[in-house]
């Protein structure tokens, strides 16, 4: 398989993103890309990404509800397969030996950018009841933040962990940070980390471990470096139910 002399690899980025390239030609392109300069590689990757985003949006217009039996089939099929950690190839292991992956320490915040669109989030209108499965003690909490934006907290009681994803929240005012607090029914609040304006991106994520003893997650505005206890009551609280 060869590519015509007059066609640059870059011209094929769209077809590549549509999976409209035969396997051997795809391998050829992957190899050819390695020999190109970084700018061209990035341009190719960006086009592929954009087209993949675009085609993913088209799926809304094509959506067809699958048979309910498929849901049971998919969910019951999980029993023998555990999720791979990053870099692992797929493997089949009994659930009993499932490994727990704690890839972020308490309170550390990784700012990540969801590249699809900017803007402020207004909330969620399509909440469903959480699915009933063996581990039904998991809950997705979605709240609107007072200053704009939204926070989604996937609470996994089985793992004693909550995954926070915030979108569209405003940067903290200059000289201040957002501080997260784990709040028990009674007793002192425990700091769960701070977010500086550097941490707050279009999407901001955090993993909170050992949430067991606490009933909610709160946010307060604190001076740089954070505080031992909140200087004012948290401006928003998300229940850890």
């Amino acid at each position: 398989m060869s590519i015509e002399e007059d066609s640059s690899v870059l011209d094929l980025a769209e077809s590549y993103a549509l999976d409209a390239i035969a396997t051997d030609e795809r391998i050829f392109i992957d190899r050819a890309l390695l020999g190109l300069d970084v700018t061209t590689q990035e341009a190719f990757a960006q086009t592929v990404r954009q087209i993949q985003e675009t085609m993913a949006l088209l799926s809304s217009a094509d959506s067809v509800e699958p048979a309910p039996e498929l849901r049971s089939k998919v969910l019951s099929g999980l029993v023998d397969v555990i999720p791979a950690t990053v870099g692992d190839t797929a493997e089949v292991i009994e659930l009993g030996s499932r490994r727990k992956v704690w890839w972020r320490a308490l309170g550390t915040v990784a700012a990540a950018v969801v590249l699809i669109a900017g803007g402020v989030v207004v909330g969620n209108n399509f909440q469903r009841e959480p699915a009933q499965t063996a581990q039904s003690r998991s809950q997705l909490q979605s709240v609107e933040m007072p200053g704009g934006g939204s926070a989604n907290l996937m609470i996994s009681h089985a793992d004693n962990t909550a995954y926070l994803v915030m979108s569209g929240i405003a940067d903290p005012a200059p000289g201040t940070v957002y501080q997260m607090w784990l709040i028990p029914d009674q007793g002192a609040l425990v700091s769960a980390g701070i977010m500086t304006s550097d941490d707050v991106g279009t999407t901001t994520r955090a993993t909170l471990n050992d949430i067991g003893p606490y009933s909610s997650l709160g946010f307060s505005v604190e001076p740089m470096g954070g505080s031992a206890q909140p200087s004012a009551p948290p401006f928003v609280q998300i229940p850890l139910l």
Binding site: Q50, M55, R128, S138, V165
Partner: protein
């Protein structure tokens, strides 16, 4: 809203054969800005929700995974059905896709795009691999009509995001010329390579490449995708 009058086009007509596609002519009114602020907000909101679900899925949370399935399965299945044109094959593929998502949720990297794009890329790749391996062509053609006619009635837009997105897609598809959309459809929904598209239409390769490229550029711009 400026675009309201343009929204009621029969995009949902899965029975439409790609070779008989009949897009209305491009209207100047289409220049109106899409997506709306509301849709952009919904996208960000949905992306953040799906990212949270993927993160929990990555450490083996089955409830999160089930929720992820509920939020996205109709889009995966709908696309698979459109590519594979067979309920059983589409169900098999959907199951494979979600199994792959379960196994590899930790590979999702928000820096490389939205969760839905990650998921649909996996799904489309699977569907295309399947359709190419099943490529005893005529078998699929014969079941297509019956299957698709039935499925048209099952279309469910699960969320506000999907409804708004679907309207935007419908409107934006009209920015493509008929020839551009034909090539994109043959590639994306038929699983043809761009070379096969060229052979199929008996059109020169560079022409097909530019039809696909120009068509997708229009679609991308109209839908407001910019990374």
């Amino acid at each position: 809203m400026v675009c309201v009058g343009l929204i009621n086009v029969q995009l949902f007509d899965h029975d439409r054969d790609v070779l008989r596609v009949n897009n209305p002519p491009v209207s100047p009114a289409i220049e109106c800005l899409l997506p709306t602020a509301e849709l952009r907000q919904q996208r960000v909101s949905e992306a953040s929700e799906l990212a949270a679900l993927l993160e929990a899925t990555a450490v083996g949370d089955q409830s999160a995974f089930a929720l992820l399935y509920d939020r996205t399965s109709s889009r995966v299945y709908g696309m698979a059905l459109r590519v594979l044109r067979d309920v059983n094959l589409a169900e098999d593929t959907t199951q494979e896709v979600f199994l792959q998502v379960w196994r590899s949720a930790s590979n999702y990297n928000a820096l490389q795009g939205a969760p839905l794009a990650w998921l649909m890329t996996i799904a489309h790749r699977r569907a295309v691999d399947r359709v190419r391996s099943e490529q005893s062509g005529s078998d699929r053609e014969s079941v297509y009509g019956a299957v698709m006619q039935d499925s048209v009635h099952d279309i469910v837009l699960e969320s506000v995001t999907q409804r708004l997105e679907s309207e935007a897609v419908t409107t934006c598809l009209k920015t493509l010329t008929e020839a551009q959309w034909e090539s994109v459809q043959l590639a994306y929904y038929r699983g043809l390579t761009y070379r096969e598209v060229a052979e199929n239409l008996d059109v020169a390769l560079p022409t097909i490449k530019s039809r696909i490229r120009d068509g997708l550029t229009k679609l991308k711009t109209c839908l407001g995708v910019s990374l």
